[in-house]
């Protein structure tokens, strides 16, 4: 039963997530909120693993979620669910590729879909930021504003932001490098 549900949830994700791997993220949050199969913390860890291992991020995340939810069969079923709509849609389009690319209505729909996709990913990113950089629970318990901020984490985020965007020698590096460095810093500084 859970396998059927997994397939259906990931079929929906594959059908509506436009704009590549990261675009599946808001759907994964939505699934977590509705089903409770995994937590937001686990999802953040899955993103890290998916970015640091071979294979498309969207597929990696589907496999991970499927495995956490229902073991190896879950991993396979979630992945198949994710790619089934892709295969069907592409097989349909492949017959009329040129017409599809030049269709004004398709282009107009994407004019609206692109900012939608960015908005959804940004909102999912906001959830990770809340989780990783702020102590919302501690703040709610103590009521002190200073408890809200996780200063160690915010400092690391600032350093990473500068390194990935502005330091010429570092910004072209693969994300796996920054993920591993963050893991080491996390252990050394006892995050």
């Amino acid at each position: 039963m859970i396998l059927l549900q997994l397939f259906f949830e990931f079929f929906k994700t594959g059908l509506f997530a436009v704009g590549g791997g990261m675009a599946t993220l808001p759907f994964l949050y939505d699934i977590s909120a509705r089903t409770g199969w995994y937590t937001t913390e686990m999802l953040a860890d899955m993103i890290a693993v998916s970015e640091s291992t071979p294979g498309p991020i969207g597929v990696n995340m589907a496999t991970y979620v499927g495995f956490v939810t229902a073991g190896i069969p879950g991993a396979i079923i979630a992945t198949l669910g994710l790619i089934t709509p892709s295969i069907i849609i592409i097989l349909l389009i492949a017959r009329a590729l040129k017409a599809f690319r030049e269709n004004p209505t398709v282009e107009a729909a994407f004019y609206g879909l692109r900012p939608c996709s960015v908005g959804l990913i940004a909102a999912a990113g906001f959830l990770v930021i809340k989780l990783a950089l702020f102590n919302t629970e501690l703040y709610q318990a103590s009521g002190k504003l200073i408890d809200l901020f996780d200063f160690k984490a915010i400092a690391l985020a600032a350093v990473l932001l500068v390194c990935t965007r502005y330091v010429k020698k570092l910004k072209g590096l693969h994300p796996i490098f920054f993920i591993l460095a963050s893991a080491v810093i996390g252990i050394v500084c006892a995050f």
Binding site: N60, T63, A75, I87, I90, L91, F110, G125, S182
Partner: protein
């Protein structure tokens, strides 16, 4: 049969060699599909990639389906797609299995707390990169803000936003708002 097996293997190789998907995949696809097998020209590959980007689903899978279909019809499309996801399923299942048994170890917890900070930055960078192509005028800025704020403060299914924004894109273009 031989072609199907070759298709599966070729895309499994692309799956193993691609870290992170997206643009990282292009040079590897070129080497495997254009140079090594001659299954598609560079232009065709770019076309597939462009359409794969703007259709639902994972770009790598979409591109694989295109090339598989071109070579061996519907079955080819399915086989190529299964090939590209095959390594992921194996590798992630192994890692997930190992990590789940070690997730309570304090050092692993600290490592992932650090990694989560990095994930924030990676998502932020991804958003900035996509932003340039997506938010091009006032109307798209409004759509972005609307989707962002509504999904942060209310639990609305992302499907609703996707459908509404696709329709909005068509209506706004017809109204001639685009580009202003």
């Amino acid at each position: 049969m031989k072609t199907l097996w070759e298709l599966f293997l070729a895309f499994a190789r692309v799956g193993v060699m691609t870290f992170g998907g997206g643009y990282a995949m292009i040079p590897i696809l070129e080497r495997e599909i254009v140079d090594r097998h001659g299954w598609a020209t560079e232009e065709e590959l770019m076309d597939y990639y462009a359409v794969g980007q703007c259709t639902p689903g994972v770009i790598a899978v979409n591109t694989a389906t295109f090339i598989g279909y071109k070579l061996a019809g519907t079955v080819g499309g399915v086989v190529a797609s299964l090939g590209i996801v095959f390594p992921s399923v194996i590798i992630i299942t192994l890692i997930a299995g190992i990590l789940t048994s070690f997730s309570e170890v304090p050092a692993v917890k600290s490592a992932f707390a650090g990694i989560r900070v990095c994930v924030c930055v990676l998502i932020f960078n991804a958003v900035l990169k996509l932003w340039k192509k997506a938010v091009v005028d006032k109307a798209t800025l409004v759509l972005f803000l609307g989707v962002f704020l509504l999904s942060v403060f209310f639990s609305v299914s992302p499907i609703v936003f996707v459908v509404v924004c696709a329709v909005a894109g068509i209506v706004l273009t017809r109204m001639g708002v685009k580009g202003k």
